[in-house]
Amino acid sequence: MSRTLARRKENAAGFLFASPWLLGIAIFMLYPVGASLYYSFCDYSILKPPMNVGLDNYRELAADAVFWKVSANTLIYAVLSLPTSMLVALGLAMLLNNKVRALPVFRTIFFLPSLVPQVALAVLWLWIFNSEHGIFNTLLDHVGISGPNWLGDPAWTKPCLAVMAMWGCGNMMVIYLASLQDVPATYLEAAELDGAGAWARTRHITLPMISPIIFFNLITGMIGVLQVFTVPYVMFPDGTPARSSYFYTTYLFDNAFKFNKMGYACAMAWIMLISILILTGIAAKLSSKHVYYEGAQ
C-alpha cells in the first residue's frame, strides 16, 4: 500500500470516528444557526411559512424602544454584576488558597451555593429581598436604616440581581483556586526574601501569573451575564417593575414564544451574537498587554 493511500485511509478513519459528533453539530448546531440567520430576514411565526421581509426586522428593532430598554438593562446589569462577581470569586479563592484548618469544609461551603438550582435560588432571594418581611430589611431595621423596596422599586432591581449573582460565583472561584495553586512557590519565596510584602507579591507575581485565568473568567462571565435569563424570569415576571428587570434574552424569548414573532427573535439573536463577538474582540485587544502567558514569545 502506498504511503498516500495509507494516509488517506487514516484520515477517512479519523473523520468516520468523529462522524457522530460531526453529524450532531451539523444537525443540532449548524442547521439551526443557519436557519435562524435566514429567518431573521423573514416574517415567521413557526406556524406559517416564512415570508421574506428583507431587513424589516432589523429596521423595526432599531426603532423599538423596548429593544433599547432591554439592551441598556442588560449592559447595566453586566457592569454591576461581572466585576463584583469576579472580585468576590478571586478574593474567596485567595482566602481558600491559604493553609488553614478545615480547608475542604470551607471550600465546600463557598462552592455549595453554585449547586442550588436557579429557580430555587430565585424563590429564595424573593423572600430575602422582601421589603416587608425579608431578612435584608429586617437587619437594616435593627441598625436604624429603613431598607428600600428592593423588588418593587425600578432603581433597585438590577443591584438586587447583581448581589444574587455573587451567590453563584463558586464556579469562578474553583477555577481561580486551581490557577492560584499553579503559581510557582519559588517566585513567591524569592520575592519574600527580597523583602516584598503580601500585597506586592500579589500585585507583581500572583496576579500576572493567573492573568490568563482572569481573562478566561472575564470572557465566559461576560457571555454569561449578557445572556442572563432564568433568575429574572422567575423573580420579575414581565420584567416588572416598569421593565426595569426586563433583559435582552427575556425579550427575545417573549418575541419567539409569547408573541410568535420568531423572525424578529432570530434578528435579536444575531445582534446579540455579533455584539458578544465584538465585545470579546475588544476585551482580547485591550487585555493583550495585561495577560501574561508563560512560554509565549
Binding site: 468516520l16 462522524s19 421581509v53 426603532a63 423596596n149 414581565d238 414564544f257
Partner: protein, 443 residues
Amino acid sequence: MNLNPLVLPGCAVAILASVWGMERISDRTEPPGPIHIAYWEKWTGFERDAMQAVVDDFNKSQNRIHVDLVATSDVGNKTMFAVSAGCPPDVAGLWGDNVAHYADDRAVIPLDDFCRQYGITAADYIPCYWKLVNYDGHTWALPSTPSSSALHYNTALLRKLGFDPDRPPKTIEELTRMSDAMTFKKNGHLEKAGFMPSQPGNWNWGWGYLFGGKLWDGEDKITTDTPENIRAFDWIQSFSRKFGRGEAEAFKNSFGNVASPQNPFIAGQVVFELEGVWTHNFVHKYAPDIKLGVAPFPYPADRPDLAGSTFVGEDILCIPRGAPHPKEAFEFIRFVQTQPEMEKLCLLQEKNSPLDKVSDHFWKVHGNPNIHIYDELARGKNTIRMPQMGIWPEFSEELENTFDEISLMDVTPKQALRDLQVTMQSKLDRYNARLEERRRLGL
C-alpha cells in the same frame, strides 16, 4: 483496537433508518378498538377532575371514540409547538383571550361546518360568550367554562369599619371614599387597603372600559389616549398618590399567590377587589369563615349607562390544525356543549354556564350562593371582552407596563397613554400589512 471504519457510519445509518421506519409505522397504524382522541387541558386539581367526569360520561355514552384527557402545563405554547411539528392533539383546552392570535396563525381550524352540521348556533349561548369564540367571520372554538367579574368584598370587615355590608358602593366615587376610610398606614407603610387597583390585577389592561373607553376601534386604529382612558388611569394613579410611590407593590410583595391563604384579600388585608367567579372557590378553600359579598363593579357617577360593566372570558375547546381526528374531536366538543354536561362541568368547577338555557336544578344545587350575579352580569349590555386582535399578546404586555409606570408615578397617564398609542399603532399597522401581504402571496 482495530475497528472496521464502516462500523460507525453503519451504526449511524441504522439509527436513522430505525427512526424513519418508526415514524412510518406510527403514522399509519391505528390501534384496534375505539378511536383514541388526545385532549390536552390546562386544568389540574378539582377543575381537571370536573372535566374528567364529563370525559368519562362521553366515553361511556358510546363505544366508537375514547377521549384521553391529559393535564398539560403551559398548554398554549405546547399546542403551538405540536401544531408546528405536525403532531398536535385532537382537542386543546386553551384560553378564549387568544382566539384571534390562534386564528391569524392558523393554529386552529374553523368549526363553522361542524357547527352547521350539528345545529350549534349563536342562539345556544349567552351572546358575549359566543362572540369570544368567533373572529373574522368564523367560529374557531366552543366554550368550556366561562367567567365574569364583579366587585368582591369582605362583609365582616365592612361591618367592623362601620359600613353596611348590604349597601356596597354603586359608583366609583363611593368606592374611592369607602376605600380611603378603610386604608391604614403604619410608619409610612401601607398596612391595610380598602381597594387597591393592582390587587389582584387580572384586568389591568381594561380599566379604561369601566370609564367608557376602548383600546381600539375594532379594525385598524388604536385608541388608548381617549379622554375616558386617561380618566381611568388618572383614577389608578390617585391611589399611588395616597399610598405612596411603590407602596402598593411592596404591600403586594409581602403576600403570596392569589390561589393561596397568603392572598391579601383572603388574609383580610384588602377589603374590596375586582375579581372573577372563581373567587368563591379560593375563599371556600382557604378562608371559609369569610362571608363574601359580591356586587357589580361601580361605575363613574356621571356615566350611569356603564352600570353592570363586567369583564368576561372563557376557557375554550378547539381543534388544532393537523389534528388526526377532527370529526371525532368535534363529537366530543359537541357533547360538552349539551346542557346536562355543560351544567355538570360548571357545577363541579362552581362557575356560571355559557349556555343561554339554564335548568332550575343548576341554580338550586350550585355551590356559589352569588352565582346569579355573575350570570346576570354576563347577560347584561356592558360586557367587556379582551380585544380580538392578533397582536393582543404584545399589546397586553405593553398595557401591563403602562399600568406599572402610571402606578409608580413615573409618568402622567396622558403621556403614557399617548406613547402607548404611537407604539401600538405602528405595531398594528405593520402586523396588518404583513397579514395582507401573506394573503396576497397565498402564504
